[in-house]
Amino acid sequence: MLRILAARLLQIALTLPVLSLLVWLVMGLMPGDPVDLAMLADPNLTEADRERLRALHGLDRPLHLRFLAWAGAVLSGELGHSRLFARPVAEVLWPALLSTLVLVGAAILLAGLLGVLIGVLAARRSGAAAGADALAILAQSVPSFWLGILLIIVFAVGLGWLPAGGSPEEPGLVEAARYLVLPVATLAFVTTAGYVRHSLAAMQSVLAEPYIRTARMKGLSERAVVWGHAAPNAAVPVITLASLDIGALVGGALVTETIFARPGMGRLIYEAVMGNDYNLALLALLLAGLVTMLATLAADILQRLIDPRIAG
């Protein structure tokens, strides 16, 4: 266990600098640097001003020196400013991560419970199992941006029950929850389908095991057999999947956040990339990468804790 932990942490420690260097280089290939944009915005700036501005912001130095200067600053805790929001990056980043974790956490909790419930119930009859699996394939294929738009059309435009997106205007838990319903439903829908398929497959193989026959033979009720003996084992892959999903969705909720105009990590990265906010985009991307890799690590450890048969 400790060896796995050490190997994974080393992998994360190696990946983050490489990732940041690669993303840094790629960002340099995006159209227009800040000075170009300033030139476009103000016709009074001359070529001499351009050179002066480039020197002022250090943009005239070679790329690798600029990277090292940036990396040194970040390592000493100096995250710098966001050009787009005109605020320190830290002030922008943490609320966004919190908002995304609330959205993703709610969606995964809902999807996990619903997915295991459907999977366990459907696994007992082969007809129901085949039907649930086919429906889950269909649900998995629904593009989330389409589902989001359809939900907006029905529940916000048509029925007018829920807000179409944005942030709550008044404080209060109920108000915040109203703004969460549609995004969580969108995100949970596709995720649930995956959980249904995994718990269904696990449940079917568990139900065929001898210990289930033993449990039935000693006269346990069907409910005790299914929920007491089979379901906990079928939940193992779902727990692993859910912890992987928390990481994947920190960046992956981007589409949902964009459709519903929620100020989360994904949307932040999207806006920073589109708005040429290098520093914010890079740091947000690294934070999302860190969370994703930590979630993968958590999934690994969790899997080993729950199921001692997995070696290591």
Partner: protein
Amino acid sequence: MPARLLLGLALLGVLAAAALAAPLAQAWLGHDPFAPDLFRRFEPPSATHPLGTDELGRDILLRLMHGARVSLLVAISVALGATALGTAVGLVAALRGGWVDAALMRLAETVLALPVLPLLIVLAAVDTGRFGLPRGEAGSDIARIAAILVLFGWVGVARLARAAALGELSRDYVAAARVAGASEARLLWLHVMPNIAGPVLVAAALSVAGAILAESTLSFLGLGIQPPAPSWGNMLANAQDLVFSAPLAAVWPGLAILLAVTGSTLLADGLRRRM
């Protein structure tokens, strides 16, 4: 043949036929899906416009059919590229073993642990004009998106191909071929490849599903196929602004994506069950 395989093939077949028939349908209906006609905006479905018209008066059905060309072309390119690259990596890792295997598989694990969608967005925002490549044309957009998706798509294929190849390489017939003096290239190409074709095919079909979703997502976000070239993703992006005036326009492109992704997932699932 299992029902899933047939259904998957049928769905993809219908979409491919629609893509191929786009110019024919255009001649038959007699209008240009690229030319705006501002007198015919938001027309309801009729004999001349089977699915009505969009916000610029262009025929929605014809644009969907042209969108199918884009989506399927991207998907096929990604499936071919990712399968070729992934199979090559998987075979090399299985054959060489040792540190080559370890390095390639650690790389694959690392790519799997990255936040894919944000990175796709960063890569899609790269200004290809800086390398002297053309920018903003439909053809170059397709190549650009396909190349980016291959960068992430090879991993799944490589892991499957490696696992399958390791199994085959330990068989007696491989040892026999080695004893008979077969070169490494001959061994891989003639003996191992045909025997791992099954899992590789499944991975290829899955990468089609992933590519269609990823391309439409990028196009939806405005980073994929650029208008006026139609793609299912950018048609949906237009429709999102019009949910109040033309809600139906948002239904069709999403339905097309749903059918294409379902089709390729069913195909992969059917192939897997047949093995």
